[in-house]
Symmetry: C2
Subunit: 273 residues, 2 copies
């Protein structure tokens, strides 16, 4: 059984419910974050908290809890999880609104969930993504706005793909819920605008420093053609090779050695977390 | 006390709650509609239902109820409202999702609310709006995505304004929750793209046919300068004069006779509804 925190109360998550005047439900006004524990400890907590705080501020939502208080809640929830690692999902909404439009006091949910690792075969074979002409509104804020990928679910499935790669006017930004990297020789190239600044992205950039030159800059679709490898990063995907983008095969169509190397570095880091 | 319908159950609205795996809460995936009753009858029900059905289809959400069944629920809720006219709010979400991303079965809420008419002084004096460079994603679908206007609430207030007028690249679309019209001589001019096709807009276009030439077409910011009158339409605003847009005064800064004429026609229609 999983437990969650909602506005001061801790309860089994299936007993948690949100009243129908919540601004996330009525107006799509909500923030979100998501991270895992390793060895019972929240991974990169300082960075996640910093980002959540920043998203809240950008959306004019006052945080009802401080960092230490929130961390105590995480520890409480971890203790109730029976010794297994969990995923934490933060959802902070505009709160209950008497007039259906004005923010009064945010609602804060902190949920524990089971971790759903990517199937090993996806690391062995790599994934296919399809291009989608789209850029997320306020991309740098982790809002709850994921309408696009839900809307495109059928198109993704029909193409035998796993996800979307967003581009606009020929410039690549990100996948629907993860960041994007290209490998060319000893260069790692990753978009730096119209993206959510992922914590796994940040971790990989840090881990790669000694072996790669990392270029954070606008990335064009045309650069896909001579890329040796491509991969995507997120808390659950870690470093997941992308071997096909639309009709284009990346490299020889198999996961490459540099993606594997970075995945190993990441796995080493979390093992010792 | 107000009553609402949620997935087959009718209960007082303050007893209704939505579980925390709902895709509107977690992912902003929801639809919305809103209309009033006059003389105890849902105003323009056929048109609202048509739009709701269309929005649902565009968002790949199967409607759990047919039109007649839904109308029976409206009559049931009206009967419980104690003989006063009410507002109906429809919210249909992506439903509860085990993996936080896939649609399974939509959740449908039908809520009754008190009507909050616009204060008479706003009709007497007209309102001020400020320009905002923005266009709603999937503007023609009445999704729950109203992040922008909530985000801009402070800017609206600071400017002493009532709302935003969206424009992009010099082309006007709509206000945050209502449509936009200009009056020049016997012409009514209203944007026809990047807008929600409002039912009050449609009603006004119909009512205006015998006295105006109605132009539905792209409208440029530059056309504001020689407009005689401007107004906005929505179910609660009806025909509400706009007398200032940013720093620009429309006409002589007072509500004009043609806006008043159309408001009277609208009031005549609803009186006899």
């Amino acid at each position: 059984m999983h437990y969650g925190y909602f506005n001061g109360t801790i309860a089994p998550t299936d007993q948690l419910a949100v009243g129908i005047t919540d601004l996330s439900l009525l107006r799509g006004y909500g923030l979100f974050d998501y991270f895992l524990t390793y060895n019972g400890r929240p991974f990169q907590w300082d960075w996640y908290w910093e980002r959540f705080q920043n998203s809240a501020s950008r959306m004019h939502l006052p945080l009802p809890l401080g960092k230490d208080e929130t961390y105590s809640i995480l520890l409480n929830l971890i203790e109730r999880s029976g010794g297994v690692d969990v995923a934490f999902r933060f959802v902070m909404t505009g709160g209950y609104s008497a007039d259906s439009i004005s923010i009064e006091r945010p609602n804060l949910l902190i949920l524990t969930e089971s971790i759903h690792p990517v199937p090993p075969i996806q690391y062995e074979q790599g994934i296919k993504v399809i291009l989608d002409e789209y850029v997320r509104e306020m991309a740098e804020v982790k809002s709850t706005d994921y309408k696009r990928v839900i809307l495109m679910a059928q198109a993704i499935k029909s193409a035998g793909a796993s996800d979307l790669l967003y581009q606009k006017g020929g410039e690549i930004s990100e996948l629907s819920r993860s960041n994007f990297f290209l490998v060319k020789g000893d260069r790692l190239i990753t978009p730096n605008r119209n993206i959510l600044h992922g914590i796994t992205r940040r971790t990989i950039i840090q881990l790669a420093q000694s072996d790669f030159q990392v270029d954070e800059r606008p990335v064009l679709l045309s650069e896909l053609y001579d890329a040796e490898e491509a991969f995507t990063t997120s808390s659950t995907k870690k470093v997941l090779p992308i071997v096909q983008i639309g009709e284009l095969t990346i490299g020889d169509g198999n996961p490459g050695p540099k993606s594997k190397f970075l995945l190993e570095r990441f796995d080493d880091l979390v093992k010792a977390w």
